[in-house]
Symmetry: C2
Subunit: 496 residues, 2 copies
Amino acid sequence: MSNTEYSGNIRNLLYPRSVAVAGASASPDKFGHRVLFNIVHNGFKGLIYPVNPRESSVLGLEAFSSVADIPGEVDLAVVTVPPVGVKQIIRDCIQKGVKAVIVITSGFSEIGGHGAVLEAEISEMARSAGLALAGPNCVGLVSTHADLYCHMMPFYPNRGPVAIVAQSGSVADMIASRLGDHGLGTSHLISAGNEAVLNVGDYLEYLAGDDRASVVLAYIEGIRDGRRFLESAKKLTARKPLIVLKAGSTAAGARAALSHTAALAGDDRIINSLLRQAGAIRVEDMEEMVDAACAFNNQPLPRGNRVGIIAPGGGWGVMAADACTQRGLDIAPLDRATLDKLDSFLPPIWSHGNPVDTVAGVTGHANEMVQALLESPAIDGLIVLGMVGGLQSIWKYIEVGSGGKVTTDGLARGAMHHFDTYYREMMTLKERFGKPVAVTIILPIKAEIMTETASRLTRETGTTCYSSFTQAVRAYAALNDYAAYLRQIDSGGRSI
Amino acid sequence: MSNTEYSGNIRNLLYPRSVAVAGASASPDKFGHRVLFNIVHNGFKGLIYPVNPRESSVLGLEAFSSVADIPGEVDLAVVTVPPVGVKQIIRDCIQKGVKAVIVITSGFSEIGGHGAVLEAEISEMARSAGLALAGPNCVGLVSTHADLYCHMMPFYPNRGPVAIVAQSGSVADMIASRLGDHGLGTSHLISAGNEAVLNVGDYLEYLAGDDRASVVLAYIEGIRDGRRFLESAKKLTARKPLIVLKAGSTAAGARAALSHTAALAGDDRIINSLLRQAGAIRVEDMEEMVDAACAFNNQPLPRGNRVGIIAPGGGWGVMAADACTQRGLDIAPLDRATLDKLDSFLPPIWSHGNPVDTVAGVTGHANEMVQALLESPAIDGLIVLGMVGGLQSIWKYIEVGSGGKVTTDGLARGAMHHFDTYYREMMTLKERFGKPVAVTIILPIKAEIMTETASRLTRETGTTCYSSFTQAVRAYAALNDYAAYLRQIDSGGRSI
């Protein structure tokens, strides 16, 4: 059976009508308890069958001594028993006609020796039976649209448009958690584990066709089948963005990967080339991955790589121009008409070019400036660094306290009030012109006040307000890379 | 007069006994008001002389029609009048015997043409008189130990050990603000502006000898005198760390720098070589600069580049090993004795090497593990990624709410309680063994709860608890780079 044919069975992993938990236990110290608990207490509507030969019921549900004894059909079986018992469970599942199995148990190829032998045996059994087997050595999976939290950790992401496939369940959980901080939910969270049967390529192929996922994130330590990965990833990226965090790019990282999920990290240049061919966006760390995912969720794709930068004075325009250029964005010259428009209301000392540095003195006209740039045929999108210049307009909030000392308590609030209006207007302009506008706050006030404002704006507007321009630029660059890839395949260009 | 001789006069800039403000105004819209206001209302103990020919008093202080009319000695004059009036003020200052001047006014070499001509004239006047002139086109300076906030922005950093020299006042303010979020104060904040006379090299030479600064941060767009910079920076780095954020490394960034402070950004490879020779640590962005500054403030320097990583399961060890290796740290093999010690209490499936991946199952022994590694002669310091594994021990906080659905409200609190204890013990071990221990929290709980805990621990322990391992690794690498430089100069090795 070719891997491609598993795609149908992956549906049984993610949208099962019934789930058996082999190793279900009443003891909260056991994973067999926790997985069952998580399935039971998160709204799953299907049938749940604890399997444990020594119990008649677990968590108030009738328990069965083996999968074979379950009266009804079983779409998915989850295995949490010790390694030595796994083979028998798989055998029972195959006999029962179960279509999908998740093996959470660890102690297989990641420890080498007899573990590797055992994994090979299980893999062979599953493959000959066409059984879609996830794991072993994984934390399970979450499928929010099925209310299925078939997962050994106490972590329950909300429903949303982002799918996560990871060769580390713990990394997947953290990604989903950080997305949640930005108000972005998860569609599927899949811990791939040692990939004895199903691998990242298989999951990607499935996700290409599942419209509940509109952005796909993959954490990868090693690609087991390059050709399979490339084919699946290309199918996926033709329809939705794929953001990849590839670890194990150094010798020390590769050694650690081997002992983690027995993954062979591979030559980093080959990985880069593979990802480029696949149209995947490679990110450097988890924070960048999350920022990029948010950008795909709430920004239009740019129609070209010419970006305008609005800087509120200081060195911000310089640093943002560097960051953009390093990521393939073009700080394009402005056209005459746009320059004239800006000249009509900016103070004479403005930079007269891109970045549009308004110098510290500017107070008003912030959104006229944004609009002028969005109207420009020379600009495909904006990075806006708000609002050091605006600090001028909030001097009125400065007070002198007792003892003749200055107090700035009102200043931060005043500044955030101004920024709030500015930001909402920019998000409206973004929609109106259909060009991406990535905004970050730059103000020397307490980070917690800025973060609070940024979180509130993110929550209330459904967009992402960044807290550093590095974040904004990286996220914008991810949009740009994907847009460029789509243009290339649309024009029939070879990606290889 | 050679630049070196300005060092004495820079003391007048930073610790003046009397300050004149030329252009002092009653109108809050004018910088001449704001600078005076900031000096008056932040506890400055010296004499303050507003200078304005059209006013008899400003902000309740007697005003003088020119600097020449001031009865007493004037250590420092601040100039905020329009460009056309600056020359006369400088002339008056020289005649009066003022030793230091800050020209805040902009409209000089950064706009080219007549601005550049004017700047050359002022520069020539100041140089022939031995006048220490800062600016023009700067936001002023802050010298917290003198309670001097001679600065046009409404920003007042607290007193502390970090000096900031910047070719952007706005960037300097943001750096100081972010340091403040980590509980770290500022000793001096110097906005260098166009550097008509005093340049970054001059300030660095001065700061080398001022013990109120124990770490120096520099934001640079262009180095005007490479030889001077190198000499000063070497003097400084022999005594304290210098962290440099160099902008304008791309063509677009360099163009923006030219219009910002007329700085010539220079070839980035030459800059890198210069900074390496100077023993300066180059960082990529402001966030990295702040994290590194905090590390120098509260971590011992490592005695070598061999780092131990403690990872709580998942891909974290893999990613941290990559990040460390990419920054020149050695994920050294563990010695037999340490391996045996760890084997005595870690579960059999632990990684048996460095990174020490404890796999998800570990609950206790966290600090025994930290201690075992710190005791090892094979390890110079630690990066600790806490506490996914510890999540196991907090399952007891899981509750089932109404409607049979799981609730995790108590879980985050329970997790943070565990982490709190773990973290404090680690900081004690860090002191005891005199090896750096950089710690980050890794838990799929709300970022705001983690951030709150991290901020509290930072505040209460005077150490920095990071919120991503990228931050922790970058900060550790800065310590390591500086320690390596010191070893090299101690051994008489040439840094060139």
